[in-house]
Symmetry: C2
Subunit: 432 residues, 2 copies
């Protein structure tokens, strides 16, 4: 009856996935159907990922977050990694990108699509090198496409493909003398492969074949931004924008075959440039959902890039980005550990939520309002219930006990809330 959510939407069919999304987002199923038909909302749900809990991604919906995990040389334990995945989902990640880069990656990928309710994404070009255990230059265009097909068959919901760079990009990067060249891992592999083989980008050249694969399984293409700026100085330059233009063209081609598309975005970018960047993406890519990595609003905070990304991500999402890739404190430095992952997720959730409130999404502020009530009434249990991370909040209070239940150890009897409650009740206020 239909191959993809987009095809269904265009045929006027409201799928069960659209219904689920509508309910979560306080919209009517018909509203969601219309947005999916226009490509302004994607529902990443491979037909083979049976246990997926459908989520919509689009600028008018709740901002979603992605967490990168995967088996690596340092962490080869499938079960341990799967536990990380499930706790990321519990902390609120709507998507998991499996960036496994070691050994046989297929069992873990299949485990994910068999058990994990989050959307699963991959970057097939990484896996190509691993899968064939051949060096990059020895891979053929067909090899790359075959890995895309394998991931689709394994039930992956979205794939990042760096389709937007071409041989012209090689000259452009050489001439433009960017400070950071390309910092996209997948993009650099495609670039390097083009340099070594002299061939055109296979993800660009064989885009129609890729569309056939994605259509068959309803895999959403996340059009990777190989030229995403890797430092403030490179942000918004012609390399980035020309690729964006090409991604817009490819979006049209995908939509013509009912294939769902997201566009990936920056990267590193000064705060004053983010709004304009989001606007341009929306016009050039006709409202296709924007998936940003950051943006990091400064380059000088290694160890704290979950914060630089939270600042940029909140502003980006307020101005139209709909999907935030988490960034951990270990970014630029090391493989994130369990605590880094946790910090990264929470920072991304804060950014996403701040943007949802700013966009006045239905019920976005409910929990904030409940928290305010709980604070005024010193209902600490309720405060923990409203908190993004109840455990951490609770333990900070517990380890530094206040003198009074109606205060915290920061202000003690000077607590403004306590003074005001007493003043408004006409009670005497003891401070000393």
């Amino acid at each position: 009856m239909y191959q993809t959510q987009m095809e269904a939407a265009r045929k006027g069919i409201i799928t069960k996935e659209m219904q689920a999304v509508a309910q979560k987002e306080y919209r009517t199923p018909e509203e969601i159907r219309t947005l999916v038909a226009k490509g302004q909302v994607v529902i990443c749900a491979n037909r083979l990922h049976q246990c997926v809990e459908p989520n919509g991604i689009g600028s008018m919906l709740r901002t979603k977050i992605n967490v990168n995990l995967g088996v690596s040389r340092d962490c080869k334990d499938y079960d341990a990694e799967m536990q990380k995945v499930m706790s990321a989902v519990e902390l609120g990640a709507e998507a998991i990108m499996d960036l496994s880069s070691h050994g046989n990656t297929q069992p873990f990928r299949r485990k994910l699509t068999a058990q994990c309710p989050a959307m699963i994404g991959t970057v097939p070009v990484y896996d190509s090198v691993i899968h064939y255990q051949r060096d990059l230059s020895e891979l053929t265009a067909k090899d790359f496409i075959d890995v895309v097909r394998m991931h689709a068959e394994d039930g992956v919901d979205f794939v990042t493909l760096h389709c937007g760079i071409t041989r012209k990009t090689i000259q452009q990067i050489r001439q433009h003398k960017r400070k950071m060249n390309l910092v996209s891992r997948g993009g650099s592999l495609v670039f390097a492969w083009m340099c070594m083989t002299g061939n055109e980008n296979p993800f660009y050249e064989y885009f129609d074949e890729i569309l056939e694969i994605c259509r068959a399984y309803d895999v959403t293409i996340s059009l990777g931004d190989a030229c995403r700026p890797g430092c403030l100085a490179d942000a918004g330059d012609v390399c980035q924008i020309e690729e964006l233009v090409r991604l817009g063209e490819l979006t049209k081609r995908a939509w013509a075959k009912d294939v769902q598309v997201m566009i990936e975005g920056p990267g590193h970018m000064a705060l004053d440039r983010i709004a304009a960047n989001m606007q341009i993406q929306q016009t050039v890519c006709m409202g296709a959902p924007f998936y940003v990595l950051g943006p990091l609003v400064t380059d000088i905070a290694p160890g704290y890039d979950h914060i630089t990304a939270a600042i940029g991500g909140a502003v980006a999402a307020m101005h139209g980005a709909s999907f935030l890739c988490y960034v951990t404190p270990a970014e630029h430095l090391a493989l994130p550990n369990v605590e880094d992952v946790r910090q990264g997720i929470i920072a991304a959730k804060i950014a996403a939520h701040a943007a949802d409130v700013a966009k006045h999404l239905p019920h976005a502020q409910d929990m904030d309002d409940a928290m305010a009530e709980a604070r005024r009434t010193f209902d600490w249990e309720k405060q923990w219930q409203c908190a993004i991370d109840p455990q951490t909040a609770k333990s900070i209070r517990a380890e530094r006990k206040p003198e009074l239940e109606e205060s915290c150890s920061m202000c003690g009897k000077f607590c403004a809330v306590r003074s005001m409650n007493k003043a408004l009740a006409g009670e005497y206020i003891d401070i000393l």
Copy 2:
């Protein structure tokens, strides 16, 4: 010859403080003098604070940050607290507010103005209760004013005074049914005192007397916002805005006596309201520097309010705030410990720097550009030199050793920078 920096500026005198500020900010002394004369830049430098390193605060200058410290019931050790102060200064705090709330506060305050090069601020109303060791309701208007004088004589550079609320505010707060009433500690004390005594706000009633004191020592008045919103729901309401209007009136009266003024601002505020709020402050208060606490862009992240404040602070500073009060992860929960203070400072520095870059201040991006170069060339030593917190960055890398010097353990041989350097040099790229 002159009592205050503002008086000097208006008389056409360029003080040594203006010269120092000009040099730090890449401006001419004449530019700084003009801005000080107009009240758009304040240089908080009590005539008795001999060791102060002058800094200018204004929306066209580098964004400054304040750190709250002080002796409390839990921490009565002057030397230990002084060490915290000096390490805050080392981490980049331009101002320290001494919020001491225990015992005899004067020795520590005098120690600060004798030894600390940062601007020193206080909230005299807190100290009134402590100083007289009498309960709030037993203090007289004169008592409050005398404490302001004592702080001025002790060399304090700026004082937060909640001059903008009046008896009318009591009715307004009762009628308006805010979710969080007042959350300003000093503001709530003034409010409670008015309720208990039936008198008018002494900081409003005796404002002229306060101006005489501040003029004599060149103490900058930081006009406190008693009605700053304590939750998203209260942001921008009439209580906040009417107080702001009154603060604008008081600013004019202060300027008429050459007294320097800052205006304090929110608070909790959704991200989409911040720009408008900064604009309104600029017009209503005629460009007087805006000193914000946050703004926190959500209420539901206790344990992570350094992040919610960094998001709001960066956006506020980009839109006109010039001075950020740090917020720690312990906000709303407990007295911050040493690590909380550190996290709060770094988050505030990130926000301030992100805004400075966004405002295109001279040389603001230099360090970011140097970091980008260092990243491209794998010059790790240089990267640590460019980092806001070199120690943390270095230790994250060190504890998770990479396989290659030219990469980190996140990507290993998949490192995009490494691949690009090799590709552009025409070298073979080994990934496996």
